[in-house]
Amino acid sequence: PGRWGSSNMAAPVQARKTVEFFYDVLSPYTWLAFEVMCRYQQKWNIDLKLRPFFLAGIMKGADNRPPAMVPAKGQYMTKDVLMLTDMYKVPFNWPSNPTEVMFVKGSVNAGRFLTTVDMNCDQYLEELTRQLFLRIYYRDEDITEPASLLSAAMKAGIPEDLAKQLLSTIKDQTVKDRLRETTQTALDYGAFGSPTIVAHVDGKPKMFFGSDRFELMAHMLGEKWHGPLPELAKAKI
């Protein structure tokens, strides 16, 4: 009682800036961007919101094509992803059949599973996302079958009965609708690929595509870019 220097005289704390991360686990550059954003959550005054979307829907909505359809570009990207993930200490390995993984098997079930977790228990969303990336792009494992999704969920720390219950919802209309809505929200922000990052600065959304605009993003957020920060790496193998 009667204490001088009470808290309402302190300088107001700068409000955290919301940064929305729209992503599909099918995209290698997206894993890189995801890990970087998770590390920078601890360094920047941001509120990171993970927004799982459906890349095939983005490609269709924006009338875009996968980049590897140009052979020389595909060859370059194969090396580029390895160089970048090595520098950033993300344990990336190309799957034995990337075409099958990316264009045949796809990510609709994984997207819906991430969505239902986002809707029901989003405290697990970050780690579930990581476990799905580790499956597809570290251990060359499936991410389409229910058993695969269950395994990822349990590795993410989701209790087994909750994981099974969440899995049972992935064909619910509410979950399908939510994934479609998130995808449309990204398209409305101007998305044409993954990752699409939207930083809200002074009430205005600033959209960034890709995993190579972090220094610029830092500048626009009024923050400092410290490079890859491998000491904050969370992907444990």
Binding site: V70, A72, Q75, Y76, A191, R213, L216, P228
Partner: protein, 225 residues
């Protein structure tokens, strides 16, 4: 520092490409910070795109829109006076042509000491002041503004359609293609006897790493403009 110690970095570029301008200015600034020998290699982006089955990024409307914003942000960040064009797709198709790259090729062959300043002047005309870059009078004005003497300018403009100049532009373009190029800018860093190819103006962290150097940010204090 002996020149032999310097690591050769080749910048394959076309003045039609705004991202190439960013790479050009950054590498020019880093000549005073990194132990590099920067070699400017004007090439034909149109030929590279055709040969590799690529398509210009502006084909996807949402991507074109984003690129416009991205370039303005990068221009501000790197302090490069890029101002865009009202109709970039149309202008890149109709208001830029191979004569520009032939002129830069002729300069490479006859008076390479003017290559950097003429390259910069052409980018300023096309991407900063939205001026013509196709008429002989425009090319003459650019050469003059770049400090090329009048008689040298006249000689350069007279030889644009020479077979030797066309052959040299084709050779340079083929060299880039052999390095795996599919777009612009294409940067090749030669380290330990091996070429390391990078596409775009956003791989400087990787390039610094392969050179054993440190990225020091946009170095706007070294801006030429």
């Amino acid at each position: 520092m002996a020149d032999a110690d310097k690591k050769v970095i080749e910048l394959f570029y076309d003045t039609i490409s705004p991202y190439s301008w960013i790479a050009f200015e950054v590498l020019c600034r880093y000549r005073s910070r990194w132990n590099i020998d920067l070699r400017l290699r004007p090439f034909s982006l149109a030929a590279v795109v055709t040969e590799t089955g690529n398509s210009p990024p502006g084909r996807v409307p949402a991507k074109l829109k984003w690129m416009g914003k991205d370039l303005m942000r990068q221009a501000y960040f790197y302090k490069i006076p890029f101002r865009g064009r009202k109709d970039p797709n149309n202008d890149m198709a109709n208001k830029h042509n191979i004569n520009v790259m032939l002129l830069l090729t002729a300069v490479t062959m006859d008076c390479p000491q003017h290559l950097e300043s003429l390259t910069r002047e052409l980018w300023l005309r096309f991407w900063s002041r939205e001026e013509d870059i196709t008429q002989p009078a425009s090319l003459e004005a650019a050469a003059t503004a770049a400090g090329i003497p009048a008689d040298q300018t006249a000689a350069l403009l007279a030889k644009l359609q020479d077979e030797t100049v066309k052959a040299r532009l084709t050779e340079t373009t083929q060299e880039a293609l052999r390095h795996g190029a599919f777009g612009a800018p294409t940067i090749v860093a030669h380290v330990g006897g091996k070429p390391h190819m990078y596409w775009g103006s956003d791989r400087f962290l990787l390039i610094a790493d392969v050179l054993g150097e440190e990225w020091q940010g946009p170095l706007t204090e070294l801006a030429h403009l």
